[in-house]
């Protein structure tokens, strides 16, 4: 069982090594990186290429660790009790399974994705220590111990919005996805738009990396933005030479709205372009 990247996902050597080590040693893999470098996609691709089902738990600022295990639906039980429903006598009717419970009790090994763990409350990771370490937890309402049948392959992604506690980090492997260099980027584009015109790709990548180099941008365009932009370029059938034209009026790359998502960034970029244009005249 080895992850080798896939026809739809380009993994660098170090990323493959990280994934395979995490799978073999059965440790959760914590993945960080710039937005749009394919952190969430990684779990999907690993699940697909190893032929395992994927369970996703998307964490929000209001998510509690307990919700991943199970929830006790007190409100419906309260309502049932007021209505005299017979189900009310068995508490297990009101226990709702969370994602972790589903992953632990699955009959086949699964890939579990805990997405954007840093969005939750600062105590959230601490509440999951034992669950991720021993892969078991106790349901107090019904007094049963839920144990894992097959240890799931766990991926955790973080955008660095909060520092994660040391105790949590010690239990994970850590991988930081670097922003891809030009060669890797070419491979990534090839995977998404096979047979793309080389001339267009070359010009587009050139423009893309040039925009990334512009100092002072608030949000640098990322891989996913490049892919969106290329899709638009292809859809509009823009010729490669339109991307690098010596015509002064066309110096702003077409459809740049797909790359720059911030009003101030667009302004800054236009200003810079204007400055270079003046320099040329």
């Amino acid at each position: 069982m080895r992850f080798q990247g896939s026809s739809t996902y380009v993994a660098t050597d170090d990323l493959m090594l990280a994934v395979n080590a995490a799978v073999t040693l059965e440790r959760p893999l914590l993945v960080k990186g710039e937005p749009g470098t394919g952190k969430t996609k990684l779990a999907e691709e690993v699940a697909a290429s190893l032929g395992m089902p994927l369970l996703e738990w998307h964490v929000k600022s209001t998510t509690k660790a307990q919700q991943g295990l199970y929830e006790y639906d007190a409100v419906s039980r309260l309502r049932d009790s007021q209505l005299g429903d017979q189900r009310v006598k068995d508490i297990s009717n009101y226990i709702v399974k969370g994602t972790l419970w589903q992953a632990f009790s699955s009959d086949e090994p699964v890939v579990l994705l805990i997405d954007e763990v840093d969005k939750a409350d600062i105590e959230f990771p601490n509440d999951l220590l034992r669950e991720l370490d021993r892969m078991e937890f106790f349901v107090y309402e019904t007094r049963e111990l839920i144990k894992t049948k097959h240890r799931p392959i766990v991926f955790i992604t973080s955008n660095n919005e909060k520092e994660l506690p040391d105790a949590f980090l010690r239990r994970c492997f850590f991988h930081y996805i670097r922003f891809p260099d030009k060669e890797t980027m070419e491979k990534i584009v090839e995977v998404h738009y096979p047979g793309i015109k080389q001339a267009l790709l070359k010009e587009a990548l050139h423009t893309f990396f040039e925009i990334r180099e512009v100092p002072g941008l608030k949000k640098k365009p990322s891989t996913s933005e490049l892919l969106d932009w290329l899709k638009l370029l292809l859809a509009e059938d823009i010729p490669p030479d339109a991307l690098r034209s010596n015509d002064n009026k066309k110096i702003i790359p077409p459809l740049h709205g797909a790359l720059l998502k911030n009003e101030q960034d667009v302004h800054l970029f236009e200003k810079l372009v204007f400055m270079t244009r003046q320099g040329r005249n």
């Binding site: 090594l17 080590a21 909060k162 040391d166 980090l169 850590f174 100092p215 608030k218």
Partner: protein, 391 residues
């Protein structure tokens, strides 16, 4: 032998634990990797380092420790000056360039940088001593001047002889450098303290269930107030003069604080705090607020944040009449002390790099007045400041 490596990491202040070391051993035993040193580097990094801010430190220790295991080609020394210039031009903003021009120009700076690199190389070759310097950046001496000068290899690792850890690509992820507002907000967030106050407008489910159970099963609804951030902040920003160099950073800090704290009051001052402060910098002469009024208006549970470079003549702090703006009756020091007496929770954020503080008398005086609670405006510095405010 690997235990030695582990201890070196510990020495370099990378938070590693025995558990992680054992995991690494387990990984090696189970044959997760092939026998190449590059694979080992990746495995060791993913098991031992859990924060990309520490990647650079790790690379340094790794490079130092495994030096000689395989002949490593170090950072190339004979870097052509033109190349350096090109690199620097790419990464520096116009303001930074102007500042460097003022320092004696490109040529001189780059000569210094080259010399630095040569020294670094010698230490490389000197063998095991390399580790001793871990923690200091090779260009530390340049302070903010050359911070933007990133020295990297242009070759990719497949073609060049330079090893991944020697490229030190994660140098710019160290948390000692300034970053955008997003990160500032996260750092400021350490100051949050929630409490429930105000109108009871939220359903308290747990209490409702509890009370209903007590009430023999008949609904008894409990309400509670919403959780709110109760931290109150008074911010004083130094404006004009030597602060112009830091205007962007201050803007970022200010906009981050504005969204993070609900109770934020801000005022401007120039160089040091005296009888007057103002809210609108354009109308600073007409609309001024007396500092006394501030002391009377805001309760002592407000937390004080000063932002300023604390660079001025010592007279401006110590003597009455020292202000460059007008004749002040009492010295800046007296005003600072008065403020600190009323608001015990206070910090000073200084956008100048921490290394240069000791060269300025005024910075030292103000640091003493603040009883050492002066922090740099880096992410790490702001975190320390917020912790000091929380104590």
């Amino acid at each position: 032998m690997l235990a030695g490596f582990f201890l070196k990491l510990k020495e370099a202040k990378i938070p590693v634990s025995i558990k992680e070391y054992l995991t690494l051993m387990e990984g090696l035993k189970r044959g997760v990797i092939s026998a190449s040193i590059e694979d080992f580097y990746y495995l060791a990094r993913m098991t031992l380092v859990k924060d990309e801010a520490n990647y650079d430190k790790f690379d340094k220790v790794f490079g130092g420790f495994f030096h000689g295991i395989e002949t490593l080609v170090g950072v190339q020394v004979d870097v052509p000056l033109e190349w350096l210039l090109k690199q620097a031009e790419l990464t520096l903003s116009p303001e930074e360039k102007a500042a460097i021009e003022a320092m004696g120009g490109w040529e001189q700076l780059m000569e210094m940088l080259k010399k630095r690199l040569e020294e670094q190389k010698e230490r490389h070759q000197g063998g095991n001593k390399m580790i001793g310097t871990a923690g200091t950046s090779p260009f530390g001496a340049f302070g903010y001047n050359a911070e933007g000068v990133r020295i990297g290899q242009k070759k990719s690792r497949n073609r060049g002889g330079v090893k991944v850890w020697d490229q030190r690509e994660y140098r710019n992820l160290d948390d000692k450098i300034e970053l955008g507002t997003r990160n500032l907000k996260i750092a400021l967030r350490r100051l949050r303290r929630f409490a429930r106050e105000g109108a009871l407008d939220e359903l308290d489910l747990d209490n409702t269930i509890h009370r209903t159970a007590k009430n023999a099963g008949y609904l008894d609804i409990a309400m509670r107030a919403e959780r709110r951030n109760t931290i109150k902040v008074l911010m004083f920003l130094d404006i004009g003069g030597s602060m112009d160099d830091h205007i962007k950073l201050c803007e970022e800090l200010f906009s981050a604080s504005k969204t993070e704290f609900k109770h934020l009051e801000y005022f401007y001052f120039h160089n040091c705090l005296y009888d007057y402060v103002w809210k609108d910098n354009k109308r600073r002469r007409e609309e001024r607020t007396r500092t006394w009024d501030i002391l009377h208006k805001y309760a002592h549970d407000y937390k004080l944040i000063f932002v300023g470079d604390a660079s001025m003549s010592p007279y401006e702090i110590l003597e009455p009449g020292g202000s460059v703006e007008y004749h002040n009756e009492e010295s800046g020091q007296a005003w600072m002390k008065r403020m600190l007496d009323i608001y015990p929770k206070a910090v000073w954020l200084n956008p100048e790099p921490e290394e240069v503080w000791s060269y300025r008398q005024s910075t030292q005086i103000l640091k003493d007045v603040m009883s050492n609670r002066m922090f740099p405006t880096t992410i790490g510095g702001i975190e320390r400041a917020m912790r000091a405010l929380n104590k």
